[in-house]
């Protein structure tokens, strides 16, 4: 997940303040909720739109969130809009979730398989990651089912990737035949 400098700055400010005020869990819940809400394309475009004036955005924001979210979260949203950075909300949200995970020592991993995996396997993968990575208290596994990998699995966490998929092996095989040194290229 790509995180920008700007997103990091905003996310850090609310993280620090929330920890100070002891409302981190609530703020996290709100922001995670916002991430889900953002999958609504209209809301997403509403934030992005340069045509809607900030004052209008603020009043819509008030209707949408006031009273429903933590006070800190609400004022955070307000600041973002006042600074005219509402178009960057998705990045800020992503950055916050990442920083929250680092703070809580939660490691997220993505497992891609061709067929659904059972809980036993998930537990095993969690075990492997915990063993490989120091300083992890919890592992969250996101499971993606993708038939195009044909078989096997791809495990990705942080910057690490284990590609045990059939499709990956076939691509590697194909790549080793891409270069034909018997063809003149000049």
């Amino acid at each position: 997940m790509a995180v920008s400098k700007l997103g990091n700055r905003y996310a850090k400010s609310i993280m620090d303040l929330a920890i100070e005020q002891g409302t981190l869990e609530e703020v996290n819940k709100d922001i995670t909720q916002l991430k889900e809400d953002l999958s609504n394309r209209e809301l997403f475009l509403f934030f992005k739109s340069p045509i809607i004036t900030p004052s209008k955005k603020l009043s819509i924001l008030k209707n949408l969130f006031e009273g429903k979210v933590n006070k800190l979260t609400y004022s955070f949203y307000e600041i973002i809009v006042k600074k005219r950075r509402e178009g960057h909300i998705p990045e800020i949200v992503d950055a916050f979730i990442e920083q929250y995970n680092v703070h809580k020592k939660i490691s997220t991993a993505v497992v891609t398989t061709a067929v659904p995996i059972n809980d036993e396997l998930v537990a095993k993968i969690k075990g492997i990651i915990k063993k490989n990575k120091k300083d992890v208290s919890e592992v969250e596994i996101e499971s993606i089912i993708d038939e195009s990998i044909l078989g096997g699995f791809i495990l990705k966490y942080d910057d690490k990737l284990y590609d045990y998929s059939i499709a990956g092996k076939l691509t590697n095989l194909q790549k080793s035949f891409l270069v034909n040194k018997y063809i003149k290229e000049m």
């Binding site: 990705k156 690490k160 003149k184 000049m186």
Partner: protein, 526 residues
């Protein structure tokens, strides 16, 4: 395309299949944020090192050049086709390097060492040598003493080049810069035949593929491919391939240098390399400086040319050389050398542009080619007045030094008088003598392309010129006289030529040269 036999194909396939590893390993990956103009910005790759090779899903490789706070800037060494935002990039844990070995000789390769001449994989053992390597330190070097014969009379006599030297060839387009370099490589055949080859590397940067094909053919026709490697990054290759090509060439040269053998490398040309580097730098948003070149363009050339060196004779000291790649360590020998002939193209003879002044100050001298001389038929069009070799004098054989010692001054004097003589017709005898001699020496120094002279032939003919023995030969007959004289010498007085080659200039040699010269001159006197 070479005709490929059926069993050959299946053999290759089987080999490739048997090498194929099906086990996966842990990969460190990143995600493409942005790609375009031959560069990509990657999120992730937190452990990537500067200069490391990374690989995209499409198999295209890239070199890490910028490590920033939140992203990594890489330059693509191939097409960006198929790479999009969100694509995965993986580390290779390998600093940009090139596989070098004896099997490379006679081949044409690209910047990453992939053969592009269609003759199949490089045979024999290869060693991974890094493209970027620090030049040997002071204690591992020794002064330049042996000559590197170019086979070009004007250069070997007046601007001698020594093994381990860096001599710049500079001039406008289309006046024979490449020709000098190519002739020099062809002239090394003499040493190859003798069993003491000078390995040659010709690095073509940003040139038309047709030009490179022409050069390759010239080498092949002259039998020079037996000791030559061509590194080609043509104008159609991505800019990073172009600016790394000289470094790849230098890595190949260092292989020969550090195993105790003499090597010669031609960078054709460094102005195009600087342009390619400027392109990449601007795209990576590095601040532009003079002529929009980045601030470190001087360092780009100085670190490259500093790798040309004459290595100390002692094997023990040479073995402790700094920054030796592990692969090379067991085979290091002293006494090797890497001579560099960088080429710079000027615009309208402007040597005070940024890149020319930089490279002039880095190298140990320059051969300046002049468009006016070229057009007036003096070929090679070397301007003797401003061409120098800062270390070459000690790298001339004794006989040549004695014979050609005054030639450079004489010619400078001649050029000055020539300008004056255009005004009046009444000249005193001394002036006339200088003019006559100078004009004949100019004729002597003219030379056809692809026809290098052995050092003894050069000394013999230059001796006649400097002694004024051609006085009676008409100007337009000098070339003809030269041919006859040298044939005669070879037939009747081979021993004299051998003495000259051995570096001796005895009275007997002088007398014979004068005698034969006068005899042959008589045939041409009208």
């Amino acid at each position: 395309m070479v005709e490929v036999r059926a069993e050959e194909i299946s053999a290759i396939l089987r080999e490739q299949l048997s090498n194929f590893k099906s086990a996966s390993e842990l990969e460190e990956v990143g995600t493409v944020l942005q790609v375009g103009d031959g560069i990509a910005r990657i999120y992730g790759l937190t452990n990537a090192q500067a200069g490391e090779l990374v690989e995209f899903e499409t198999g295209v490789r890239a070199i890490v050049l910028n490590l920033e706070e939140d992203n990594v800037g890489v330059v693509l060494m191939g097409s960006s086709k198929g790479i999009k935002e969100g694509s995965t990039v993986k580390r290779t844990n390998q600093i940009a390097s090139i596989p070098v070995g004896e099997g490379l000789v006679g081949r044409v390769v690209d910047t990453l060492g992939k053969p592009i001449d269609g003759k199949g994989p490089v045979t024999g053992k290869t060693y991974e040598l890094p493209l970027e390597r620090k030049a040997p330190g002071v204690i591992y070097r020794q002064p330049v003493t042996e000559p590197l014969q170019t086979g070009i009379k004007a250069i070997d006599a007046m601007i001698p080049i020594g093994r381990g030297q860096r001599e710049l060839i500079i001039g406008d387009r289309q006046i024979g810069k490449t020709a000098i370099a190519v002739d020099t490589i062809i002239n090394q055949k003499e040493f190859f035949d003798k069993g003491e080859p000078v390995y040659c590397i010709y690095v073509a940067v940003g040139q038309k593929s047709s030009t490179v094909a022409g050069v390759a053919k010239a080498f092949e026709d002259a039998g020079a491919m037996n000791y030559t490697v061509i590194v080609n990054a043509s104008a159609s290759d991505p800019a990073p391939m172009q600016f790394y090509a000289p470094f790849a060439g230098a890595a190949i040269g260092e292989f020969f240098r550090d195993t105790g053998r003499p090597a010669l490398i031609v960078y054709d040309d460094l102005s195009k390399q600087a342009v390619a580097y400027r392109e990449v730098s601007l795209l990576l948003k590095r601040p532009p400086g003079r002529e929009a070149y980045p601030g470190d363009v001087f360092y780009l050339h100085s670190r490259l040319l500093e790798r040309a060196a004459k290595i100390i004779e002692s094997d023990e000291i040479a073995a402790q050389m700094n920054d030796l790649p592990d692969a090379l360590k067991p085979m290091v020998k002293g006494g090797g050398s890497l001579t560099a002939l960088p080429i710079i193209e000027t615009q309208a003879s402007d040597v005070s542009a940024y890149i020319p002044t930089n490279v002039i100050s880095i190298t140990d001298g320059q051969i300046f080619l002049d468009a006016n001389l070229f057009n007036s038929g003096v070929r090679p069009a070397i301007d003797v007045g401003i061409s120098v070799s800062r270390v070459g004098g000690s790298a001339q054989i004794k006989s040549m030094k004695k014979v050609a010692g005054t030639l450079k001054l004489d010619q400078a004097q001649y050029r000055e008088l020539e300008a004056f003589s255009k005004f009046g017709s009444d000249l005193d005898a001394a002036t006339k003598y200088t003019l006559d001699k100078g004009a004949r020496n100019v004729e002597i120094l003219k030379q056809k392309q692809y026809s290098p002279y052995t050092v003894e032939d050069q000394i013999a003919i230059i001796y006649l010129g400097t002694q004024g023995l051609l006085r009676d030969v008409p100007l337009n007959k000098v070339k003809e006289f030269e041919g006859t004289f040298l044939t005669y010498m070879k037939e009747k007085h081979q021993n004299i030529l051998d003495t000259l080659k051995a570096g001796k200039l005895t009275d007997e040699v002088k007398d014979t040269l004068a005698k034969v010269g006068k005899e042959v001159a008589r045939q041409y006197t009208s």
